[in-house]
Symmetry: D2
Subunit: 139 residues, 4 copies
Amino acid sequence: MTGLPLSAEQLRARLKSSPFVAFMNLDVVEVDAENQILSLRMPMRPEFERSPNSGRCHGGVISALIDTAGDFAVIMLNGEAPPTINFRTDFLRPAASSTLIALARVRRLGRRIAFVDVDISDDTGELVATGRANYAVTT
Amino acid sequence: MTGLPLSAEQLRARLKSSPFVAFMNLDVVEVDAENQILSLRMPMRPEFERSPNSGRCHGGVISALIDTAGDFAVIMLNGEAPPTINFRTDFLRPAASSTLIALARVRRLGRRIAFVDVDISDDTGELVATGRANYAVTT
Amino acid sequence: MTGLPLSAEQLRARLKSSPFVAFMNLDVVEVDAENQILSLRMPMRPEFERSPNSGRCHGGVISALIDTAGDFAVIMLNGEAPPTINFRTDFLRPAASSTLIALARVRRLGRRIAFVDVDISDDTGELVATGRANYAVTT
Amino acid sequence: MTGLPLSAEQLRARLKSSPFVAFMNLDVVEVDAENQILSLRMPMRPEFERSPNSGRCHGGVISALIDTAGDFAVIMLNGEAPPTINFRTDFLRPAASSTLIALARVRRLGRRIAFVDVDISDDTGELVATGRANYAVTT
């Protein structure tokens, strides 16, 4: 594949290719391939609420955001969408806002496994959740 | 709270109270409070697809199903919805069908923490994913 | 490699090949390759105590037992020692005895990844901890 | 408890109170309570080797180091040793040296749960493993 790492524009196009990822309405906030960091923003939508009119996202959706942000951080670096092997989500505190920011950092991109950490913050910058994921790198 | 554990009917009513959980369209398959087991079924919906017309659920949605099934297994036993502290999802193989079955088993319901394992199978009975979660028990 | 799965005798010999595993003094309790289950027993030793004269094993040692039991369950099936990719340990309750039993069950042995669950019980049969691990299968 | 956070000297004394932790021969490298960071060093010992004369530490011991470093980061802040609820270890690459450095960072110290990340490096500074743990805060 030529033209690696992918640009924000290329990643935005990819974010539309999966129906569920498209449903999350993600946007690219920051692409920093040199430091292996990708940041995505997820706006709220009514279907994602934890309780009615709370403006708070269900934890399962936060997990889906973690999985997706980690996946796209690897896509940014090598162009291929790697299958998730496993991931973990920790919930640190309730979000104070309805828009969430995912900051994914690739800790190691091995030949077989990519290790990615993801921090989820609300738009006041408060840390809401953390994620840690392994992806099966396809070469 | 009287009337514990909750019945399938009571749990079905609860499954409608969160917008996101309602959006997942879950149904109760089996309630076995004596063995601390709860099974839920999730039908496919177009918004949950991993890739267009694949009939396969996005992994993030599978994670949301794990979180929810574990949560409701604790709700079945003590009536209260416990906040998730953390959970892990492992993806074992692609689902061969679009309907997924979650089997949640409470391994320990402590005074402060509930430990729950969740197996996700497709409707051929093949194991697709496993989950392991901790919930903060409120007493 | 001929003669798979490995027998209890073959596994006992392997348990001596790593200095740290030998230090744990593990013995094979049960080999059930058909069901992909291996059980190991770990006796207490003074260096492993959590607090002096408590007779209770430090949690870090319980984690090492989980990692090792999962690893040997894969060795039993395919003869090769797979590197651990990651694993998780949950501590459910204090052990009532100083001898611990690990029951490792391979949930899926894929071409690249093995997924293994491990339950740790004391010798009264009470569940003390659970483990979940991924290993990189070498083929 | 007076005199919080604990000093390096106080932590060194505590590191001797558990037989297993004392056996790990840990030393305090850095105490940075303001940033909720604690760093510990673990020298190699023959009983901890993965394979004979390899100079490499068994992964189970690395996990024990993660659990202990996270625990002591919380002890540094509030003086009490919190029980570990669960933790995860990811193995990123083999260590190039036999001495390991644990850098534990408390991501959130809640009223009930502490969330701690731990990075394990060798003494060339290369990242070897990562850990993520939850502890039950006692108040």
